[in-house]
């Protein structure tokens, strides 16, 4: 643990010992070290290759450990990797693994990572997150997913039991930041081969995390106990971690108040009241997701939205302060950029949207629409599509009201989630509500979305933007590139960015060690401890 990272420029910033929160002096630990956290829904799978959702990742982070972990501020700290070296061409990473063990006592080897990563891209696994290995730019990942190459050809190699070598197709500045993601966790080959799909059941599951799975009632609860084989077990205070499913946010809050849960999301609109009543429990912190109204600028989209002046006018007229302060009321921030404001190394550009007052913006919006030949005399009719959700509905109604004085008549179109997604992906909409959450703490996790070949549901395309995103991969200093990319988004307005998320929670004051500034909201039960009553 004292061995520091190799000293290239990038790595030096990570040179710190493994992270572990410890009780401060004067704090008395509770006898019963239990942490009960809230799950909104059933955990779909605790197989790292098959998990697709945030709650599943919360569980997986306790059961398994990847090469890297995150600390309470979201910085990368060593996990199974003790140190690593980056080659001069930034294409090869060599990791040295520590003496870690699986929960059955066997050593965690470089081969376990190789197996897990090959398994994730293997078409037979049909992992919904196979794309993550492509995002990491690992050699041959794309071809293997396509079935054109064998999984063994993936650019990951065990030099020996303690040395793992990863080769990339292109320099990837965020590569290290992807290594705390659940898809990259090692999995035990023998156990998977022995039990097949049933390997994820309690009793069968073998992990290398600080906790082991002891119970899982689908849709009811999931229980994990401290893993004595974990390499840093002596610094783990928490004994039992229990995820309790409560399908309704308001009931969850009641059960938090009854002491059954230690952490729950605060239902929309209740933060102001709860932060008055329990200021040390109601906590709002930035959360790396952005909310937007995406314009369909494809051939299938409406004529009016192909005019950048119309797109900008609509964006300017959205009174984001009202949305944030009067509708959401949970510490969210008005969005003037696609990238979440709290993302590391990102500077927001000075745009009209950010600097003008709302009155000035409204006037400007009217001028722009008039220039484009629209206005109350020649109104535009558009539909605004959103998926079923009270908040989306409230925001859509607000947007409808903000746009009405401009002569833009909005028909609200509420559809069920799968229909919404299907229409987004087939460009069957005028304006659609969308949100994106970052996979890693770097601006490209947002900005890649608007690349011509990105998800980009509105099919906006800009050559300079695409080039910037390519340049960013090899640049020494990516900050100005991302700022410039956001400037292009501000000029071209492919979407109206509405707000940046906050994670708004009730957290029991007895639980210590939860991250306070990690915008990805990743937490590790190994860092938690419970204070006595």
């Amino acid at each position: 643990m004292t061995k520091l990272f190799a000293t290239t420029a990038l790595v030096a910033s990570l040179a710190m010992p493994a992270f572990a929160v410890q009780p401060a002096e004067g704090e008395t630990l509770a006898e019963n070290q239990v942490y009960n956290f809230w799950l909104l829904d059933a955990i779909k799978s605790v197989d790292p290759a098959k998990n697709t959702d945030v709650e599943g990742s919360d569980v997986l982070r306790q059961l398994f450990e990847g090469l890297m972990n995150e600390d309470e501020k979201g910085a990368m700290v060593p996990g199974v990797a003790e140190s690593f070296e980056e080659s001069d061409d930034k294409l090869t990473y060599t990791f040295t693994l520590r003496d870690a063990k699986w929960s059955n006592g066997e050593p965690v080897t470089a081969g376990d990572f190789v197996y897990a990563w090959q398994r994730a891209v293997n078409p037979e696994t049909a992992s919904e997150y196979a794309w993550f290995m492509e995002l990491m730019n690992i050699v041959n990942a794309t071809d293997i997913v396509k079935g054109e190459k064998a999984p063994e050809e993936l650019g990951v190699k065990a030099i020996d039991d303690k040395t793992l070598e990863v080769t990339l197709t292109t320099p990837t500045p965020y590569f290290i930041k992807t290594l705390s993601h659940a898809t990259t966790f090692p999995v035990p080959q023998k156990v998977i081969e022995e039990y097949g799909d049933a390997w994820t059941q309690p009793g069968n599951l073998v992990g290398n995390g600080a906790f082991v799975l002891t119970g899982h009632n689908l849709g009811v609860d999931i229980t994990m106990e401290k893993n004595p084989e974990y390499w840093d077990a002596e610094n783990v205070v928490m004994q039992t971690v229990k995820g309790i499913t409560v399908n309704d946010n308001n009931v969850a809050l009641t059960r938090y108040q009854a002491g059954e849960l230690d952490r729950v999301d605060i239902p929309a609109g209740q933060y102001p009241r709860l932060s008055q009543e329990a200021p040390d429990e109601a906590i709002s912190m930035p959360y790396a997701c952005s909310y937007a109204y995406v314009y369909n600028v494809s051939d299938k989209g409406p004529e009016a939205l192909k005019d950048v002046r119309v797109r900008e006018a609509l964006s300017l007229a959205l009174n984001r302060d009202i949305i944030v302060n009067n509708v959401l009321q949970g510490g969210q921030k008005p969005a003037t950029t696609w990238t979440h404001w709290a993302i590391e190394g990102f500077d927001q550009p000075e745009t009209e949207l950010a600097t003008l007052s709302q009155e000035e913006k409204n006037t400007r919006a009217q001028e722009l629409l008039a220039e484009a030949g629209y206005g109350p005399d020649n109104p535009i009719s558009l539909t605004l599509q959103y998926n079923t959700d009270e908040n989306h509905k409230k925001l859509a109604i607000a947007a409808q009201q903000f746009w009405k004085p401009l002569g833009v008549n909005i028909t609200l179109n509420n559809v069920e989630w799968k229909v919404h997604t299907d229409r987004l992906q087939n460009q069957d909409f005028d304006i659609a509500r969308y949100a994106w959450c970052g996979d890693y703490n770097e601006a490209s996790t947002f900005l890649d979305w608007f690349r011509t070949d990105g998800y980009n549901s509105g099919k906006w395309s800009n050559a300079e933007y695409d080039q910037l995103m390519v340049d960013a991969k090899t640049a020494e200093d990516t900050g100005p590139i991302y700022t410039r990319a956001e400037e292009i988004l501000a000029e071209e307005v492919p979407a109206a960015f509405v707000y940046h998320y906050a994670s708004v929670d009730m957290i029991s004051p007895k639980i210590k060690g939860l991250p306070t500034e990690n915008v990805l909201n990743a937490w590790y039960a190994k860092d938690l401890y419970r204070l006595a009553d």
């Binding site: 059933a42 794309w131 059954e260 799968k418 997604t421």
Partner: protein, 307 residues
């Protein structure tokens, strides 16, 4: 009677087949699929998934494969959303939960509903009648999605007597609130049906005859009035029993029981085709079965009915 039951069971097979085929087609007509998600999957990943679950076959072939799987192996396929679990496993986990709280709620609702209805009818237009009608109207207008959070508020937050949700087969304290929340409005309906049926029967000729020949009142009520008055109640109870034991999405959501009611709704929203089909078939088969049971009970209660 035996021949009648056999005939009904024989008709049940094509009915279920039709149910399967129609549900299957309707389900596939809905936009989106199990793997439609916010992050659009790369085409090759989607193709891999479709191949794994047989979704790349033509629809008719999928239906035939599906039905064959059930007939030959009693295999309802893998869940598309819970990749480590089969539909059989999911139903085996969720159905016992709803069966437990549903049956208990059913028994409670029938006992109290029939009791209230009979009391109200016997003491027609008295204080007891008004009280019983008052209770049943009150119970009826309090839907379970209002009742559930109120129960949690009272029993969990204020008094700390019961766990606010979750499930255990070994600890009845988890059952109480789901049973109350689910059973109340059914109890109200049963009470109203019983009351009106009972009033009608009590005014009929054979009751007057029974009373005229000096039969004790309790025998008149229990033997001659209650039995015929149960006919409309029983025809109501057949489908009600099925819907109670297959769970309520509201109960499952508020009390996080892990029951099958929520699984059914989720499967439709998530396009988890296999789970949705599995639960549809379960509910369909139970409905057919209990309709048959109701018809058999009819013949037993009312000797005038012959099959």
């Amino acid at each position: 009677m035996f021949a009648y039951i056999m005939r009904r069971l024989a008709v049940a097979v094509p009915t279920l087949l039709l149910l399967i085929v129609f549900s299957f087609i309707l389900m596939h007509l809905a936009p989106g699929g199990p793997f439609t998600q916010e992050r659009e999957l790369p085409p090759q990943v989607l193709a891999n998934l479709n191949a794994k679950y047989g979704l790349d076959d033509p629809l008719w072939k999928q239906i035939i494969n599906y039905i064959w799987g059930i007939v030959a192996h009693f295999d309802f396929g893998p869940s598309f959303v819970y990749p480590d679990r089969s539909v059989n496993e999911l139903i085996a986990a969720g159905f016992p939960v709803t069966l437990t709280y549903g049956s208990l709620a059913f028994v409670a609702a029938v006992a109290m509903g029939v009791g209230l209805g009979v009391v109200a009818a016997i003491w027609h237009n008295s204080f007891l009648d008004y009280l019983a009608v008052g209770i049943s109207i009150g119970a009826q207008v309090l839907p379970n999605f209002v009742m559930a959070p109120i129960l949690v508020l009272i029993f969990t937050l204020w008094y700390g007597l019961l766990p606010g949700g979750g499930w255990s087969f070994y600890d009845p304290s988890f059952w109480i609130m789901p049973v109350i929340a689910l059973g109340t409005s059914y109890m109200a309906s049963i009470a109203r049906i019983t009351r009106s049926a009972m009033l009608e029967v009590l005014g009929s000729n054979h009751i007057r005859t029974a009373r005229a020949k000096g039969m004790p009142e309790h025998r008149v009520i229990l033997r001659h009035a209650l039995k015929p008055a149960m006919l409309p109640v029983i025809s109501y109870l057949g489908p009600v029993f099925v819907s109670m034991i297959t769970g309520s999405v509201v109960i499952d959501i508020y009390f996080s029981t892990g029951g099958i009611g929520k699984a059914f709704v989720d499967s439709a929203l998530n396009r988890d085709y296999a789970v949705m089909m599995g639960v549809t078939i379960l509910v369909g088969a139970l409905t057919i079965l209990f309709n048959l049971i109701v018809d058999v009970l009819y013949a037993w209660i009312d000797p005038k009915i012959r099959y």
